[in-house]
Symmetry: D2
Subunit: 318 residues, 4 copies
């Protein structure tokens, strides 16, 4: 067995597309509690109080909802070069860009399903302005306490026509470790939970019910406690944010969740919990179709839309 790759550190940011930029912005700022760090062209760059980089969410006006791209930060310049060479060799490379607000040159590529990723190393660490300076220096930003006050972007869940192909790409080319996956009775892979760290998931692929490509399932934002998920649900109820799945505990990865739709139509999760993987030889958990039918950890049946809806919305019978 080859040794584990350690070239990418983590998803640095995700770009979310919204056809309702003003309403989406109000949601992310007033209800989720993010801060506006920069604005440029049709995009607003947003951050949680615990993000070490300048932002983790780039919100961009667009005709349709969906995922713009996912930014992966490398461990070092050398690590970046190694990954770019490998991706280029795989034939999935799109080429270099000059970078964006807060980060340097980025190499763009697609996963087999067509989602756009960019790999970069140079990035600006966040320096809080006076009014957002924290009391303790081991916290990047003051705890403002507005709305759900999510701490940072946690993970990205994308839909894929062929989960297995994308999962293998993420493992072999990007260095993700596979912690859990679902395999249906017919051998199809229905979902894969991947991570670059001990956290139980940072990138997830689940089967697109419509066989479409490049779609987003959801972006998840972290809070430190389950109580904050419950509190976020109260806020959503009183701020007319449509809740798709009320707070509960996932069977897979054991994370605590709350799912809702932001005004642009994208699914958003407020999440915490889950387990850490400390086993260097961790044997991925493979869930059967029968086990998935048990529902969530405490027996909650997963709502149908969770298995079919994604952005952009392709509608029609799944």
């Amino acid at each position: 067995m080859t040794e584990q790759l350690h070239d990418f550190a983590r998803i640095g940011h995700a770009e979310l597309l919204t056809p309702k930029p003003d309403e989406s912005l109000r949601f992310f700022v007033d209800v989720l509690g993010l801060e506006v760090e920069a604005q440029e062209a049709q995009s607003v760059y947003l951050r949680g109080w615990g993000d070490y980089l300048r932002y983790s969410l780039k919100l961009t006006e667009s005709a349709d909802a969906g995922l713009g791209h996912v930014g992966l930060r490398a461990w070092s310049r050398e690590a970046l070069e190694r990954r770019v060479a490998a991706i280029e060799a795989s034939g999935r490379g799109l080429g270099w860009t000059d970078g964006d607000v807060g980060h340097g040159p980025a190499y763009r590529f697609t996963d087999p399903d067509g989602h756009v990723f960019e790999a970069y190393y140079e990035a600006e660490r966040y320096e809080a302005p006076e009014h957002l300076r924290p009391s303790w220096r081991n916290q990047p930003q003051r705890y403002v306490g507005r709305g759900a006050c999510v701490k940072r972007l946690d993970h990205v869940n994308v839909l894929a026509a062929d989960v297995r192909a994308n999962r293998v790409f993420a493992q072999e080319l990007l260095g993700y470790r596979l912690y859990e996956r679902v395999e249906l009775d017919d051998g199809t892979e229905a979902g894969a939970w991947l991570s670059l760290s001990i956290a139980a998931h940072e990138l997830i692929y689940v089967a697109d019910a419509y066989g479409a490509s490049g779609r987003l399932h959801h972006l998840a934002f972290w809070v430190d406690t389950r109580e904050e998920c419950l509190r976020a649900a109260d806020l959503f109820v009183d701020h007319d944010v449509p809740i798709e799945a009320a707070p509960s505990k996932h069977a897979i990865a054991q994370g605590f969740f709350l799912y809702a739709f932001e005004p642009g139509g994208n699914r958003i999760e407020v999440t915490t919990g889950g387990y850490f993987v400390y086993d260097p030889d961790f044997e991925p958990i493979v869930w059967t179709q029968a086990e998935r039918a048990r529902g969530q950890f405490w027996g909650v049946k997963t709502i149908d839309s969770f298995h079919t809806y994604g952005t952009p919305d392709v509608g029609g019978p799944a």
Copy 2:
């Protein structure tokens, strides 16, 4: 034994005096998360999202910090009349006022230590304006989620030169039940925890270290969970609110606490928890001096200022 009086329902509001009205208002609105319900003359009337009356805090500009008065709402017009007659007979009555924002005629009186109370029955139930209308009708107001977002005024703790005299007055004239008290080795009563309901305390008297009179120890605001107390502490740290006692659990009454000073100098508590008293014959717990020396529930030693500081501040060695 005479049967339990049931004439007063609960403290409806407390008036807090502040020499720094603007800073105090910013604290109560931005950090504690109260809403401004009305303003009149030198006062601002503030409410928590769970207050059923229009407000529970009247914040009034004044040369010194301290307690303006405590408003007690009676169960009915007849109950009010009964109490007024008894208080009048006790010689502590000050007479009727026409009422104030949100409530009708009130009968003013003082406790033996000189704190001003007012008794009233007629009061306006809160009707949320459109932008504060809750999603569910069994909640008086939308959950806004700003800052510590305290739910309502919970209890009032006042200092008294003679705790016993005031405690007996509260029991006999006002109908409070005594749940816990501290008796020093010399027989002095050092504190008394009183309630009109099953909640472990709604009115507290503790000995004034300076033997002064009419002073306030603190006003306490309720949150539903201990996690919200911890979160409030994070907010205080990042909003330069001086914390006097970090979140922990009281030995007496077992409430969870966080104490800090609002800009005007008054001590404020964010509280939750405690036990309910369901025993109709509840035998008050009498704590000895030795037991008090054990500190708080988990062994935290109570900070000295907690035993001496009150508003107005009379300074000098205690």
Copy 3:
């Protein structure tokens, strides 16, 4: 308007019938965390660590699951006499019993639906034996920390063929206050939430889907935090306790819940939260059929069995 009755203090205990006494006992002791306080004949008397009386649950072997009776403790001997006279006059009296383990003479009667209640005043306050003596004297018993370690019996929810008749009986004869109720479009009353205190419910009547009588919907046990409900759910999952409804927040009364079935078939709730009613003139919330169709507070659809199942199980299509 007549003044509020204050003759009953609270439900002191409930008797639960089980066809599987050993398994039920193991559940209540090992999983819910109750202590065995006494055993007599076919009954075991159990207590939570926060119960001030010797026990709050009497578990009795029986051919069928269901409710044995509900014990109501009066505020005083005089209050008891007043209530007994009124109940007797109503024609629902069954007569006096000599009492039971832990309490004195009790007057038995039925509500209109046939559930058996007993009213008593004399009761033994719990005195912890050495191994269960708490560190702080304002706690009746040591916090043992076994299983879900529920604190005390919280409320009783019974089914009734005619909710309105029973609700009116509870208000007029027993002195319960009505805080919330459901009224269907055809004027039928589908549920009523009643309390003797500021707690949002202590006795609940909901419509029996089968029109049967004397059935139990559930007994609810209190924990101090929502986190303990979540933890109880984890315990239930790993102890093969069938969860009917995973932890979430009720729309009615806003309590946090977890529903499961004990081995004898009775529905059990682990509960916390909710609001306090401090308004002496509280106007009961009347929910319409349309509002009930919204589901629970965060939009969770109530599972069908919750509307039909009760003990004893009368089966058949509802």
Copy 4:
């Protein structure tokens, strides 16, 4: 800059020495909630419900309290060989042992302060026996729910006469990343927080107030929520476990803590929270003497014994 070492995965276990083996065992099993996985000679091997290896605590009878050794699991056989070669070259190697219950050959060495470590790769993954089999396969063991039910060993904090020398050894030879450290005004290093993962600390060195060597400050056990720390404190109070520091939040690393002494005299922490380090170029936070004097996150002053006591206890004025 050389690239980050990734040869060690994590501390697999720690051996704790106790002069009161029976009482210590009762504490770890009944109060902390660990399971006995094996017993051999003078040692008992204990595990939390979330430990993926057979055990994380080896409790060994000994004349004095203190740390036996720390076991570090390598990422692979090759990684182990690389580290052993480097350690051997450093002159700190002690040689190979045949292994122990649950793991294969281990290479023993000391850090500069003399604490014994062992490095190994081969280890037995835990396979739960029938009565401890979990309901969901992504959890190593059933959630038993006894006592504080800690999930796993989290970190080890050791005292050292020369913090800097040990910290540099841990970084250069073992591959630890440094996240925070304290530097006194005279340039002395007073503490260093190190990790092999994104978790804010897994190995900590703090200055030994007596200049002694090889001593233990504490072992920390993980729980998933702050509420479980609070609950553990309640359990400690009622089980006569001496609490040194009641639950609160650290300034350094922002972990939530509860410190107490197990019967053998060793300090034990129940911990949760803290932040994750996702920055590949994380600049270690260096705290000044003045900043440390601010106390803990919410202003709690650190108790004196925390700065002086360790095991074995060397007593005398610090």
